[in-house]
């Protein structure tokens, strides 16, 4: 087969491009390698000094101080305790945002690490430890590492990078605003206007160094659910004198499961309905007046989400009525689904492969956990991925997120630095003006 001149030309261009990409990647890798020790140091400091949602005062101050040391333009505080920094590249181009969350959880650490958290506080009236039990300490350290890498490469950047350090991803304390939604409300995606946003989350259950992602719905929408079943109180010995809200609640819990099992099109996307609390009564021989149950709804598709909400209302109300009771259903929309922009996801694959190695990049099924990164994605195209941080020397089943034994593998934080740096640089390169 003869090669046409055009094809030869295209191939030559491609080769040059590939070559220049290769050179760029080596520069990123080099920079990342230089910053790795500091990234681990930062992560350990954050790990030892965890702060709860909307209370990340020292964390925010520390981040601002570090970012300033890179010569970045820093805004602090944003959305209570958040930090936003702007890095203007040497050449014109798009604005790319990179996001890290910064809050810790009310969990008492059980790890024997030298930098284990000893912080305690009072949460919901109870004494508790505070711990980075979801890896946000790693996210901050990685994003600071990226900020340093990109600052060092400032002159060759084709655009602007906005670093977003977001408070309260785990949810603001009751009665407070916070998190991604508040950041957007305060204009974090404006001045300059963000063209695309990238974010990551470490995953203790994913092999260390592996990157998982999925185009489209990647993480679930989460909605809260409260059902108050109203009966009529009676003596436990004479149920016929009342309407028993506990038996009705039992029937409602079972019936709700049939919404998922029988009524929703599970081929479109999965769905989960979990009743996590159920409270009624004060004494074994009294049939109470009401029973209250709370749950969480996970969906990936806004149509299914709406259907789910309507069916929950119908099921709870009618089953309650079937026994002469009634049900009040309140659904609190909490976080939308993390939906990865299809175009960005298709484009991100090769960049991630370069940053982490082809063997380490996987397209995976969606997960039923939620993330408020989705609020950013509702406004601008966004891409979110997981970085595996399966701890070293841990048993087959490592402690999961949000538990006192949660632990990560620091050795792969550098992969996160490389991945985010590569995505940012490649994005700016691809959209350069």
């Amino acid at each position: 087969m003869k090669l046409s001149p055009t094809i030869v030309m295209v191939m030559a261009t491609f080769a040059t491009f590939a070559q220049s990409q290769g050179a760029l990647q080596s520069r990123i890798d080099q920079q990342a390698a230089q910053v790795e020790a500091r990234v681990i140091e930062w992560r350990r400091w954050f790990h030892e000094h965890p702060e709860l949602s909307n209370r990340e005062i020292n964390t925010g101050a520390r981040i601002a101080e570090i970012l300033k040391s890179f010569g970045l333009q820093v805004q602090y505080p944003v959305a209570k305790t958040g930090v936003v920094a702007l890095l203007k590249g040497g050449k014109p181009g798009p604005v790319v945002a990179l996001r890290s969350d910064i809050d810790a959880l009310p969990i008492t650490e059980r790890n024997a690490l030298p930098f284990a958290s000893k912080v305690t506080t009072t949460f919901s009236g109870r004494e508790t430890g505070v711990m980075h039990a979801c890896g946000h300490d790693a996210h901050m350290a990685i994003l600071l590492g990226v900020a340093q890498v990109l600052s060092n490469m400032k002159a060759s950047l084709n655009g602007t990078v906005k670093f977003i350090f977001q408070p309260a991803e785990e949810g603001a304390p009751s009665g407070e605003e916070g998190g991604a939604r508040l950041m957007i409300k305060e204009g974090v995606l404006e001045n300059p206007k963000v063209d695309a946003i990238f974010g990551l989350h470490v995953q203790a259950l994913v092999p260390a160094g592996q990157i998982n992602y999925k185009s489209g719905s990647f993480m679930a929408a989460v909605d809260g659910l409260t059902i108050t079943v109203k009966g009529r109180g009676a003596h436990g010995a004479s149920p016929w004198d009342g309407v028993d809200p506990i038996v009705l609640s039992g029937q409602i819990v079972s019936s709700l499961q049939t919404i998922v099992s029988r009524q929703l099109d599970l081929t479109r996307a999965g769905a989960v309905l979990t009743i996590g609390t159920m409270h009624a009564g004060i004494r074994s021989n009294i049939i109470p007046e009401t029973a209250v149950m709370e749950g969480t709804i996970r969906t990936f598709d806004s149509t299914m989400q709406l259907e789910m909400h309507q069916r929950i209302e119908r099921t709870a109300m009618k089953v309650a009525e079937s026994g002469g009771g009634s049900a009040d259903v309140v659904i609190h929309k909490t976080y939308p689904a993390v939906v990865n922009n299809a175009e960005l996801a298709a484009w991100a694959g090769p960049s991630l492969t370069r940053a982490a190695g082809a063997a380490n990049v996987r397209i995976t099924p969606a997960v039923t956990m939620a993330e408020d990164f989705s609020f950013f994605q509702q406004k601008v195209p966004g891409f979110f991925f997981f970085l595996g941080v399966y701890p070293e020397g841990k048993p087959e089943k490592p402690p999961v997120h949000h538990t006192p034994d949660f632990m990560i593998n620091e050795k792969v934080l550098i992969t996160g630095v490389k991945a985010l740096s590569t995505l940012a640089i490649d994005y700016m390169e691809s959209k350069k003006k």
Binding site: V243, D244, S255, Q263, D265, T315, A316, K318, S322, G324
Partner: protein, 439 residues
């Protein structure tokens, strides 16, 4: 004032005394005659046992009964409620009209007993070849009532008022599409002309100790109502339930929900109640979600108010649970047999009569049973008393008694004599009790 009160007490004491006194001579005579007729009662019973006939087909049985009553000079009416026979014994003296009832029908059960008079009768029932058997003891009821008629007819001179003998067809329920049983008898006026004041009936019990009589005031045997619930969903492929509405899952939820009517919503201290879903049909193939499911069941209640409330709750539970999943439920409830409700006053008055028949220690008040009897139709119209006569075979291990309606059902014939005496006693005692001048 004081005096009058005392007088009343005195009068009632005399009345009580009258009861025992006036009956003493007659009582001895009736007992003696009952003993004497026992052999023939057994003979009649064996004849009926060997010639059982299904509900509304009791032609030969009725003819035999009619012939007997006629021979006694009792005015008879045949073909009442299909094959029933009603006899009227007029004493010519004023007094109450007392009805005595025996049911006559047998069951589509193939007898497995090796009695010389075991049934060899065969028929086709619901398209199935089957034997026919008196597997519920109605043969004994007919024989006993024939003996009661004979003894009362012979002793007419000692009696007051009128006795109406009701030989009733189809207690077990008429064949599909036919009317029959006590309901139809009442409809055809069996309790009128002359108007019946009180009705007595009994049932032999193979599962109760020989020689005993048991009864319960108020609800003794349950009302039996049938319900059908048709759950309509929307058909779809079994692999894609979201395309339809699954009536099978909805039905399962309804079945569970129905149980909570009994467990949570019914005042069980007043009376027991039972809701049984006995049949459920839906679908034709494993991988097709059907359009609808039909379930049917029986409701047993012992109190008319509770019966009404439970019917309403069944409708509410089924329709609302169906709606909870987007389906609908059609509930139909058919009132089948009313509660066998023993008039409290009549029962209280008649207990001594039962005690005379079986001995004081052998008469006991029992808990209600959730089986049903169409005697309830009579008791809905007039006060009545229904009681059980124990006839468990003497050597039978009580834990292994063959139940009524089974091929091995058997009774001890010596139990019939107590049934006979009890029926005689309640009849004659009631006549005397109610013949006291009302002043």
């Amino acid at each position: 004032m004081k005096m009058r009160k005392l007088l009343c007490v005195g009068l009632s004491l005399i009345t009580g005394g009258l009861h025992a006194q006036m009956n003493a001579k007659v009582q001895a005579k009736l007992d003696q005659q009952a003993n004497a007729i026992e052999v023939r009662v057994i003979e009649w019973r064996r004849y009926f046992h060997e010639h059982p006939e299904l509900s509304n087909r009791e032609v030969n049985t009725a003819a035999k009964v009619a012939e007997h009553l006629k021979s006694l000079g009792i005015e008879i009416q045949t073909g009442v409620a299909k094959t029933g026979v009603v006899g009227l014994l007029k004493t010519g003296k004023p007094g109450p009209v007392i009805a005595l009832r025996a049911d006559m029908d047998a069951l589509p059960v193939t007898e497995r007993n090796s009695l010389p008079f075991a049934s060899k009768v065969k028929t086709v029932f619901n398209d199935q070849e089957t034997g026919v058997m008196h597997a519920c003891g109605h043969d004994t009821h007919v024989a006993i009532l024939m003996a009661v008629a004979e003894i009362l007819a012979k002793n007419k001179a000692d009696l007051k008022g009128t006795v109406k003998f009701i030989f009733q067809p189809a207690e077990e329920g008429p064949p599909k599409g036919e009317e029959g049983g006590a309901g139809l008898m009442v409809k055809e006026g069996v309790l009128d002309n002359p108007k019946v004041d009180v009705i007595f009936g009994m049932h032999i019990q193979s599962i109760s100790k020989l020689g005993t009589i048991s009864y319960k005031p108020a609800g003794m045997m349950a009302a039996s109502d049938w319900f059908t619930i048709k759950v309509k969903g929307r058909q779809s492929h079994g692999a894609a339930p979201w395309m339809g509405i699954d009536p099978i899952v909805v039905s399962a939820q309804i079945i569970t929900g129905l149980q909570t009517i009994v467990s949570r919503q019914t005042e069980l201290t007043k009376e027991a109640a039972v809701i049984t879903v006995g049949r459920i049909q839906g679908g034709v193939r494993e991988n097709i979600i059907p359009e609808e499911v039909t379930m049917a069941g029986t409701i047993r209640t012992l109190d008319m108010d509770m019966q009404k409330i439970i019917h309403e709750k069944i409708k509410l539970t089924a329709t609302k649970i169906a709606e909870s999943a987007g389906a609908t439920a059609e509930v139909t409830i058919e009132n089948k047999t009313p509660v066998t409700y023993n008039d409290v006053n009549v029962t209280e008055k008649m207990v001594p009569s039962l005690q005379k028949a079986a001995g004081k220690d052998n008469v006991m008040q029992i808990n209600a049973v959730t089986g049903s009897e169409d005697f309830g139709f009579f008791e809905q119209a007039v006060p009545g008393l229904f009681f059980f006569v124990g006839a468990m075979p003497k050597d039978q291990d009580p834990s292994k008694v063959p139940a009524h309606h089974t091929p091995d059902f058997m009774i001890d014939e010596s139990g019939m004599l107590i049934g006979l005496k009890a029926m005689l006693n309640v009849t004659v005692d009631y006549m005397y009790l109610n013949n006291v001048p009302k002043k």
